[in-house]
């Protein structure tokens, strides 16, 4: 490693000039849309509870402002510092994941996922995704190899497995799936033989069946995961979310019912609408045109992320960007796919749009990292 901590280079002062405006604008548009969607999803039920209709939207706007600060802060120092402290951050995230299981963590609806801090809920699982990406990128970039050995693949898998397992037992199946997907994405970019990926897949299958056999996966999780295959089987429980989400999106039609005009949205028929099912607001109120526009914005973010991975001056930056791209991609596909009824229902938020501080700030930090790699792409 040729980086000496604390030493500054003259070129660094000009880095701000090389910020990626396309990525910044796409992310800001998505985040702004998110605030509006959160308002639409929550204002009516807040009014019936005699609360400020803008309560959630204002909080989300606060997260947006905080997120900008976080992204700028993270972009401001050379990302190679991340490589230096990756182990520390990764270790700290694992500690938090363990601590959240202790009485320090709050239990909400059967899951122990959050720390209650100053009126906000902090979900360490969100932070752990980014920490894991950094650790993985640091580890793989140090191998200095074009092709990974099976041993390397196993080591990389171990890095992902630790947070994945801790998240899985919360239980938060969705984030565990995201972590596993990030691992696969980064491994592909780092050069894993298809044969080794096959071994990994086999191991995953054994693991899944093993956990089913041992009863590690709760019944409701299986129900939710499989209900998308047959929503009519139990329309009032697991299939209900999916059915109502599809009705909301379908009734949007080509151009939507108009902002704040969606009946499914306003009358509370879609559960978890401001968080996991926020895409249904877009679908119902802005129709096919609106939904496609949002998907396009995500495509722009992903395009820029892959581009940054390609432009990075070092493998660490490449893996970092590829990991972040994988994280965004899998979250968008699983989240949107779930609202459309073609993916299992798992509690994965839609990046930038879903209500929630931990998720938003993690995504902001990820954008900060991408910008960082982009700004410092010149050797």
């Amino acid at each position: 490693m040729d980086l000496v901590a604390g030493k500054t280079y003259p070129a660094e002062r000009r880095a701000i000039r090389h910020v990626d405006p396309v990525l910044v604008i796409a992310a800001l548009v998505l985040a702004t849309a998110g605030v509006l969607m959160v308002y639409s999803a929550t204002h009516a039920s807040l009014v019936t509870q005699h609360l400020d209709p803008g309560l959630y939207a204002k909080k989300q706007a606060t997260f947006l402002a905080l997120g900008i600060v976080v992204a700028m802060a993270i972009a401001s120092f050379d990302y190679r510092f991340v490589k230096v402290y990756a182990g520390l951050v990764y270790g700290a995230s694992l500690v938090l994941l363990v601590l959240v299981r202790t009485p320090l963590g709050a239990t909400v609806r059967g899951s122990q996922r959050w720390f209650q801090l100053f009126g906000f809920q902090l979900a360490p699982s969100e932070v752990s995704k980014l920490a894991m990406i950094a650790m993985l990128a640091a580890f793989l970039s140090e191998l200095h190899t074009q092709e990974l050995t099976l041993q390397d693949v196993f080591r990389a898998t171990a890095i992902a497995a630790a947070p994945a397992l801790l998240v899985f037992v919360q239980p938060d199946l969705g984030t565990a799936i995201v972590i596993a997907s990030i691992l696969v994405g980064v491994l592909v970019v780092a050069g894993t033989r298809p044969r080794h990926l096959g071994v990994l897949a086999l191991a995953a299958v054994v693991l899944i069946f093993g956990s089913l056999q041992l009863g590690l996966v709760k019944d409701y999780q299986i129900d939710r995961l499989t209900s998308f295959l047959d929503p009519e089987s139990d329309p009032l429980r697991a299939g209900y979310n999916k059915k109502q989400a599809e009705i909301a999106i379908g009734s949007g039609g080509l151009t939507g019912l108009g902002y704040l005009e969606g009946t499914q949205t306003n009358l509370d028929f879609v559960p978890e609408q401001h968080t996991d099912f926020v895409f249904t607001v877009v679908g119902e109120e802005f129709g096919f045109v609106g939904a496609m526009t949002m998907l396009l914005l995500f495509a722009v973010v992903l395009w820029r992320a892959f581009r940054i991975a390609l432009l990075s001056k070092d493998p660490f930056g490449t893996y970092l960007a590829a990991g972040i791209a994988s994280m965004f991609a899998i979250q968008v596909v699983v989240n949107v796919g779930m609202t459309l009824g073609i993916m299992p229902i798992t509690g994965i938020p839609l990046p930038f749009v879903s209500y929630g501080g931990s998720s938003f700030l993690t995504n902001s930090a990820a954008i900060g990292l991408l910008l960082n790699v982009h700004m410092r792409r010149f050797k």
Binding site: G283, L302, L311
Partner: protein, 639 residues
């Protein structure tokens, strides 16, 4: 980029992501463009909640303005399965304890396939106010359970005219398929019999519907639209409660009298198990009374009942009280048929009013090698008598040769067959329904050679011969054999004789009016069809029949009747039914003070016509004209 092979790997990953985005886009297109209309419909069903308010059914009123049927409200507990959702099981448990009905029974009612998933299913009616109040107060614990105020029928005059009025029941699955019942939903109540069924579409009214916008919790946010219920129209009958009461009472008196009278042929009292009385205005066809016994309490159908209860109430043990014997009972007319046979014989030149005919105790079929013999009801040889006396004394042996003459016309059979007797009887209205405005009327039967052949083909076991014999005509001439009539057909035919050959279709409805009294529709009289007999022939028969109560077969039953005040003519009938005691008939025409009536009485297993039916008719006629009641003067064992 430092390592050259990273680029294709990144592109592979990006390609994978692009592929997944393409899948999302396809699905979006499917949901939002191809199947959007269905989703919008579902979204509408989500937030629009319909609350129906039942329209009060129209009342049924007699010709004096007395109410026969009106409404009262009852409290009905309903369960909406969709709204109950997961709470259905606890709903059933709570309701079971509250209503004292087993949980299995409630579950069975709730799961009724007659109702849509999202419509309220009635599980208990006539619940107490206390139960209704409890349910109202505990809505949180009883999701989807509501108490509805539902109008039900009430009968201020009890079981009076029960058969005419009819009763309500749940609309049947067959009716729901019928376009005429398009506006009906499963569980709706509909007239099943009587005028309730005949005038269903006037009486029903239109249910009100209020549309509300609700949220996912089922809370009402606003009212979207409201259509108030429109009450059904009132039905005014030609029937008069006083006359109906008189007819029912007289029938009852007659039945009880017959049950105390010994049947000499069997040496036991008459069963007199059932009977019917018809009172008709011959000038219009308006039915003033239509009594049928045994009767029933119509309030039975207001409450839910099991099929066992139904069987117990209305089965063989109670003599099938739902049967309206005045229009659904089919009986051999016996001698009440003779006036019509005579009219045909006069028309066809078979009989002559100026001639005299022998009336021996028995008569043998000529040219019959077996010398088959047909008896008169009397063992006395009356010598030669006029046709008029043959009618008022009901001489069978005068009518047998008349019947035989029709055999001579018929045989050998031609194509088309010559059947003038059947033709004339059908012209009098026999063998087909009168088309009275009460459903499920029976047609009776005028037997013909073709009919007999067909019955033999269809059921050779019970009808061993399909051949038409002289005996068929001979039996028909005295209203026996395979001939069947309903009491209403006899009444209509006598009305036609009284009306000088002008036939009126009997009807029981007079008009339909709004609750305010505003006229909706007048039910017109259907008179005018003429029967093919001359005024002279009809007058001859009328005059002959006028002698029946004076010096004929009903003279003993009409002892002391004020013939100078009320003109009355009639005919007795004693119908023989194989295996049963004789059926007693009397049909009468009466006229006084410009008011005309035809009164017909039939008593199953009631003995001779003059014994049971004639005194019933006399009692009714006395009541109709306000004459002093003579008591029940049972006549002798005449025909």
């Amino acid at each position: 980029m430092t390592e050259g092979r990273t680029e294709p790997r990144l592109k592979l990953l990006a390609g994978l992501v692009a592929f997944m985005f393409a899948a999302l886009t396809t699905r979006l297109w499917f949901l939002q463009v191809l199947t959007s209309a269905e989703a919008r419909e579902k979204a509408r069903n989500n937030y629009v909640h319909l609350v129906e308010s039942a329209a009060p059914r129209g009342r049924i009123i007699d010709d004096q303005g007395n109410v026969l049927v009106e409404n009262r409200t009852t409290l009905v507990v309903t369960v909406n399965r969709q709204e109950a959702g997961d709470g259905l099981e606890s709903d059933i448990y709570t309701l079971s304890k509250l209503l004292g009905i087993s949980a299995e029974e409630i579950a069975r009612r709730v799961e009724s396939p007659l109702y849509y998933e999202n419509s309220p299913v009635p599980v208990a009616s006539h619940v107490s106010k206390k139960v209704a109040f409890y349910i109202g107060e505990h809505q949180g614990e009883l999701p989807g359970v509501t108490v509805a105020r539902v109008p039900v029928r009430t009968y201020p005059q009890g079981s009076l005219a029960a058969h005419v009025l009819g009763y309500l029941g749940q609309v049947s699955p067959d009716q729901l398929q019928d376009p005429a019942f398009e506006a009906y939903e499963p569980g709706d109540r509909v007239g099943k019999t009587g005028v309730e069924a005949e005038y269903e579409h006037f009486l029903r009214g239109t249910d009100g519907v209020t549309k509300y916008r609700v949220n996912s919790a089922g809370e009402i946010l606003e009212q979207l639209s409201e259509r108030p219920p429109e009450p059904g129209d009132d039905l005014v009958l030609t029937l008069s409660s006083d006359i109906q009461g008189l007819a029912e009472e007289s029938l009852q008196v007659g039945l009880e009298h017959a049950r105390r009278t010994i049947d000499p042929t069997r040496n036991k009292p008459y069963m007199a198990n059932a009977g019917a009385v018809v009172v008709l205005d011959p000038t219009t066809g308006a039915i003033k009374a239509l009594a049928s016994s045994p009767s029933y309490d119509p309030t039975f159908f207001v409450r839910p009942h099991t099929s066992e209860q139904y069987e117990q109430m209305f089965g063989a043990a109670t003599g099938y009280p739902l049967l309206n014997r005045a229009i659904q009972g089919q009986y051999p007319p016996g001698s009440t048929y003779k006036p019509f046979v005579l009219l045909s014989a006069l028309r066809r030149g078979i009989a002559d009013t100026s001639a005299y005919y022998p009336c021996p105790p028995f008569w043998e079929v000529p040219e019959d090698p077996l010398h088959e013999s047909f008896d008169n009801w009397s063992k006395t040889d009356w010598g030669s008598i006029s046709l008029s006396r043959a009618l008022f004394d009901s001489c069978d042996t005068v009518f047998y040769p008349i019947g035989y003459q029709y055999w001579r016309i018929y045989y050998p059979p031609t194509s088309p067959p010559k059947e003038p007797l059947q033709e004339d009887l059908k012209k009098m209205g026999f063998g087909s329904a009168t088309n009275v405005d009460i459903p499920y009327e029976k047609a009776g039967r005028v037997p013909t050679p073709e009919w007999k052949a067909e019955w033999h083909r269809n059921d050779p076991e019970n009808y061993p011969s399909g051949k038409w014999f002289p005996g068929d005509f001979i039996n028909m001439s005295i209203g026996q054999g395979d001939t069947l009539v309903t009491p209403l057909q006899i009444a209509q035919a006598f009305a036609t004789i009284m009306n000088n050959g002008r036939e009126c279709v009997p009807h029981i409805a007079q008009r339909i009016q709004k609750a305010s009294g505003e006229m909706v529709m007048r039910i017109r009289d259907h008179c005018g069809r003429r029967v093919p007999f001359t005024h002279t022939q009809l007058e001859y028969v009328r005059n002959a029949l006028a002698q029946v109560p004076i010096q004929g077969t009903a003279a003993s039953a009409f002892r002391g009747f004020p013939f100078s005040q009320v003109w009355i003519a009639g005919k007795t009938g004693t119908a023989q039914v194989t295996g049963w005691q004789d059926y007693s008939w009397f049909a009468a025409m009466a006229s006084a003070e410009g008011k005309e009536y035809v009164v017909v009485a039939l008593v199953e297993q009631g003995g001779h016509g003059s014994m049971t039916a004639a005194p019933i008719v006399r009692r009714v006629v006395e009541g109709l004209y306000g004459l002093p009641m003579s008591g029940f003067l049972s006549g002798g064992a005449t025909d």
